[in-house]
Amino acid sequence: MHIVALPVVVPMIGAAILVGIRQWAPRLMNDVIAGAVALAVVTLCTILLARAIHHPFAYWMGGWRPKDSVAIGISFSIDSLGAGMATLAAVLVATALIYSWRYFDGADGLFHALMLLFMAAMAGFCLTGDLFNMLVFFELMGAVAYALTAYRIEERGPLQGAINFAISNSVGAYAIFVGIALLYARTGALNMAQIGHALDGRPADPLVIVAMSLLFIGFLTKAAAVPVHFWLADAHAVAPTPVCILFSGVMAELGLYAVARLYWTIFAGALGPHAEQLQAILVALGTVTAIWGGVMCYTQRHLKRLLAFSTISHIGVFLCGIGLLSPRGLAGVATWVAGHGFNKAALFMLVGVLLHRFGTVDEFDLHGRGREIRVVGVLFGIGGLLLSAVPGVTSFFGKSLLDSAALEAHDPWLPAVFVISSILTGGAVLRVTGRVFMGWGAAQREEDVQLAGAARESDEETTSRDHTPPLMVAVPAVLLAGSIVLGLIPGVVPGIERAAAHFQDHAAYARWVLRGQPAQFAPASTSHIETFDYLYAAGGTVGALALAALTLFGYRLVRRVPNALLGPPRTALTAFRRLHSGHIGDYIAWWTAGAAALGGASLVLLR
């Protein structure tokens, strides 16, 4: 299976070629080369996925196989969830490239080259079985992402976003570095299977717990969990739209993928006796993130920033799902991540259409102007419904699995958190649909309702046009269709459940990676969706619609509520929003507090 390294190698070579011929290559040639490479990587990842579904396998670079369970070389350890994430990333890069054919007028080869490098880094990150190798891909992904964020370097927003993004994520990466060094000091190993094997059988001591906290806080910085999430909204709001697709659709989720991967390959054996306490820590973090992101999402008028905060809210939900530490919870997350990735990518593309056509992404500036492009409005509304996990779509199946996993883990309040997140994020997008595409609601936010900031920044496109290239609508339409039907394909959801159970088999992972034995797994159970799940999810969607309607049509009612009643919550909300100050110093102070809290809680609870 020598094609294993190709998802990393092919885009890197492609990027090098694009940079090399940049001086004279016409735009079309850049598009064709980048598109061909992206489609090739999609095919390669799909082949790996198809093979790993039945037999996860390790590939050792240069033939440096492990001897007596001691890994000297670097492995790509491929199982179905890892290959699935790589495939999702590749598909989103391919669609983002297709979308950018029409979106950018002046993109030169550098943009395409950076996108391909981004693709290589994400694929390597998902496939590798070596902890240090994972960090290198993490840093590569980061460096490329900083450059892509600052692609419009002449503007203030992208500069600020890229600087905050780069400094926050670099600090996270250095925490990971120290964590790796501590684990290496303890075990003498860098291969995840071997580290896990070496830690097994002994209770975790403070060194292991500190290493775990450093690794988790580092990867959670990329995932943007509260309170290390601040950079995300700044960066996602200003990056070019094709880049936002990747940031929100898959890059943030990769941070969570790393947390899950590390826990089950490395720490599951040593921390097994304390699983309940770790569960409490992760679920608490996830809950705060889900609610925080949801509230911030609903209060935004800058559409890209709104979508960025909705990503943070979903990251919180996913973190809860992983934190349940059960196969069903992880399966729910994996299913929802696939649905969410397509859905969020499509929504960013549609916002890109608004930006391309009207030169603004401010909800109030756009009031009613979307009426001339109804198709886009319909798609946008569908995207909002999908965000609220409307029954029958992929995200619904993921949410149902999460709900039943939460009940199984005796956290009966957790489904309420999930539904609040769905209502706030879905409701926000539906509200925008009503205001922009139907002209409902207030055209101008009233003076006293006006919350601070939300400066009308100049964005990547400032000129308005009177046409929209059909391709820019077709690509998100296809993605939305994918987000709807993926979970309906027979066998997909049960397949993901099996994959999640295999992903969590700590002992089997060490065997198939280090000894090369064919993996043997206990048969995994699959779940059944009950009528109750449909009703509960329908309730969430109705809630989202109701919230949007209340905001659009109820603003006159709000005026009648006495100020004494509304004042305090409004002040609190303003203060809460002011925390997102855009100042890197504040963000790093929060980061330090978050790292200390996670480390402290882990040291107290996990011993």
Binding site: I153, I163, L182, Y184
Partner: protein, 114 residues
């Protein structure tokens, strides 16, 4: 086994973070970031160190002689490459910020905030 390198690393990490938090100048924030990164060098080298050991180059010393761990040194090398990339990128952004907006204070660069 001595705790000194780890204490120094922890100090560097924290003092670097403090530097970023307190910076009113982007260049200072970026240099503080490299101080944070220096902590990782110290940890890695501390992990690989053993008393009385030589550099792990076996061309001119006997194969049996005690040597420090070469793996962590390779990791440090990778770390340096990463630092060079990220620092260069950040400094380029800072230069751009100064050219366009005439300020290096993160406070003045805020385009978006809530």
């Amino acid at each position: 086994m001595t705790f000194l390198p780890y204490a120094i690393a922890a100090w560097l990490f924290l003092v670097g973070l403090y530097g970023i938090v307190s910076s009113r100048n982007l260049i200072r924030a970026i240099l503080s970031l490299t101080v944070v990164q220096s902590a990782t060098y110290v940890v890695l080298l501390g992990v690989g160190y053993s008393k009385g050991a030589q550099a792990p180059i076996f061309a001119d010393i006997p194969q049996t002689s005690k040597a420090v761990d070469p793996v962590v040194q390779v990791l440090v090398l990778t770390d340096v490459v990463i630092e060079a990339t990220v620092t260069a990128m950040l400094l380029a952004l800072a230069v751009q910020a100064y050219k366009r907006f005439g300020s290096l204070d993160p406070q003045d660069l805020r385009a978006i905030q809530d």
